[in-house]
Amino acid sequence: MSITEPLSQTLPNRVIPVLGILALALVWLLDLGTIQPNRIVPGAGHGLLAAVGWTGAGLVAGVLAAAILVSILPLRQRYGLLLGLIGLSLAMMPLLLDVFATRHLPEDSPYARSSIGAGFWCLLFLLSLMLIEILGRLRASRWLQLLLLVMMGGSWVVLLQSDGLESLSLVREFNARSDKFQQALWTHLALALGAVTISAGLAFALALKMIRSPTWQRPLLGAVSFLQTIPSLAVFGLLIAPLSALSSAFPMLQSLGIRGIGWAPALLALIAYSLLPMVRNTFVAITDVPENLADAARGMGMNERQVFFQLKLPLALPVIIEGVRITTIQAIGLTAVAALIGAGGFGSFIFQGLGQAAMDLVLLGALPTIALALLADALLTMLAASLRPTPATA
């Protein structure tokens, strides 16, 4: 990390106190966790004090108060201190649940389980916002951010596997279907990334076609925009009939697993949705390369192929990757919906959970979907940044 502006480092921070006060209020007002007698019956909520006792509550309040103090006192190492404090707190948060479960879970009832309350989620969210603010002020490099992410994720995974958290409803739901979870992960990734890869190839070809023959621009952009306007559920539904007809007409397709429901219509719909951002970004990126550069390149003796591969494509790549990033995040989210037509993936947990009124099963589907989307976002942003020609000095 580079500290280039000492002034902004020493001035008091206003964002962190606001977030800190909000967190203090919410963590005291809302339930930290609930204890359910079994999987379905709604449980009894416990506030911060009731949940983790005076020691735990004091620790949480102390950390937040310390963060507020450090951010307003005239300290030189303000953001370094804050990074340590908030980072450590975030990494250790599952311990709160551990303490909560050991204090409140009835010993004699094997079906009883603990689950995470709104207070915990709010605390997690606000601490994360603080961390983002701190990293921004420190101008932390992408690598440091990634390292922090890995360390925190690792700490959570290790802590969640501990015995004390075996009672956590989310963990129980996971343990009950760890095979299915892994399968869902692969299906989800295969569907989302498969759709992105195929539509990237398709979009590249379409964008090139639009650049070569301008008469195609309007109809092609119109068509992909139209695809984007159909509601996602409708596309999934609309594809059932034609694909069923196809697969009953050609038994060979059936042996490939192409049916009215399942992965085939899901993949098709995801590709259709991915086309607009991909085509638009690719087209705009390549046509935006200044004409005087292409002119200079041709004037120096480059042929059209060399102009494209040595000039236009490298300059367009960051914007194209940006399109891939948007599309990937969108596809990861949409794949969850595709579970409705039997495509599998994390969406299947969400819909099962909704059907059984088991909210922690919904979370088991939703949380990894969000995590995947965030991970894809981080990786592709890094890729785009590393492809930019110069350290931003233009």
Partner: protein, 315 residues
């Protein structure tokens, strides 16, 4: 040698270049000058086939360019444009190496050539080779643009308002630089500008263009002394011609030589043999002198130039 024979270029119904004939001798700097839209850039872009001809033919060393492969043709013609056209995702060294790489030169030879050119253009290879174009000043970037054009040692140099976007001081410096480099490398150069002073300074011969035609093609001195039409006369500035002519003439022509060169006395001011008569007159007027000492490149005083001689014979 470049020969344009009855070259015409039409864009739809408008005639941009109207049947022009022009011969550019090997090693000379031909400046195409005229107001915007007169067809000067179009003419330049036809020479490297960025634009096709509507009629006529262009010969380079006697060979019709229409029969040549356009990429091969351009690889042998350096091309410098306004605003440099440097690739923003390539370093300075990589930009300069562009044509040698297209020609598949071995890496060692390319590196040596890049170093040599950066030194020729007064850019320190150690500090600048690995910078990106956005990190350079306008003048430095245009030096890189010229170095890139010279990289594969082409016979011909095409320059399309290369110094148009620069401030006056930087432009002046680069013009002097170009004269210096041209003395060393002697490229057949076609230079497009709308600035008549730039044309007078750089040209071996000037082709004045108006509405797609060449209205006069002659040396700077003849353009000033005998403008072919009112248009040319207005372009060179009717009243200002006396001083412009003086700026074309070196002091060497009008100085009175000493019998033997003298060593320069310390603290003495003077002008150089290759400075213009105009500068000499300006120095004398400002310092209220009747004559001023003239020095050669070795710093020896070789003679004097007097006010009377300039007034009598300067123009």
């Amino acid at each position: 040698m470049i020969e344009l024979k009855n070259v015409t270029r039409r864009f739809g119904d408008t005639v941009a270049v109207d049947s022009i004939n022009l011969t550019i001798e090997t090693g000379e700097v031909c400046v195409l000058v005229g107001s915007s839209g007169c067809g000067k850039s179009t003419t330049l872009r036809m020479i490297n086939r960025l634009l096709p001809l509507s009629a006529g033919e262009i010969l380079v060393d006697g060979e019709d360019i229409a029969t040549m492969n356009p990429e091969q043709l351009r690889l042998n013609m350096g091309y410098v444009i306004q605003g440099t056209g440097l690739f923003p995702h390539w370093t300075v060294a990589r930009n300069i190496a562009m044509v040698p790489r297209l020609l598949n030169w071995p890496k060692k030879r390319i590196d040596e050539r890049v170093d040599e050119l950066m030194t020729l253009l007064d850019l320190d290879p150690v500090t600048h080779a690995h910078k990106y174009p956005q990190q350079l000043s306008g003048g430095q970037a245009q030096r890189v643009g010229v170095a890139r054009a010279l990289a594969a040692d082409p016979n011909i140099l095409l320059m399309d308002e290369p110094f148009g976007a620069l401030d006056a001081i930087t432009r002046d410096n680069l013009q002097l630089e170009m004269l210096r480099i041209q003395k060393q490398v002697r490229k057949t150069t076609v230079f497009v500008t709308h600035d008549i002073d730039e044309a007078l300074k750089l040209a071996t011969r000037i082709a004045v263009m108006d509405q797609g035609r060449i209205v006069q093609h002659d040396t700077p001195e003849n353009i000033l002394r005998h403008p072919a039409s009112d248009f040319v006369e207005n372009l060179v500035g009717k009243q200002d011609r006396g001083l412009k002519l003086m700026s074309l003439r070196p002091v060497r022509d009008l100085m009175t030589l000493h019998v033997a060169p003298k060593q320069m006395a310390p603290g003495m001011e003077g002008i150089k043999e290759e400075d213009s008569v105009r500068l000499a007159l300006s120095v004398m007027l400002w310092q209220d002198l009747h004559q001023v000492a003239v020095f050669n490149a070795q710093g020896q005083e070789t003679g004097v130039i007097t006010r009377e001689r300039i007034i009598q014979e300067g123009v």
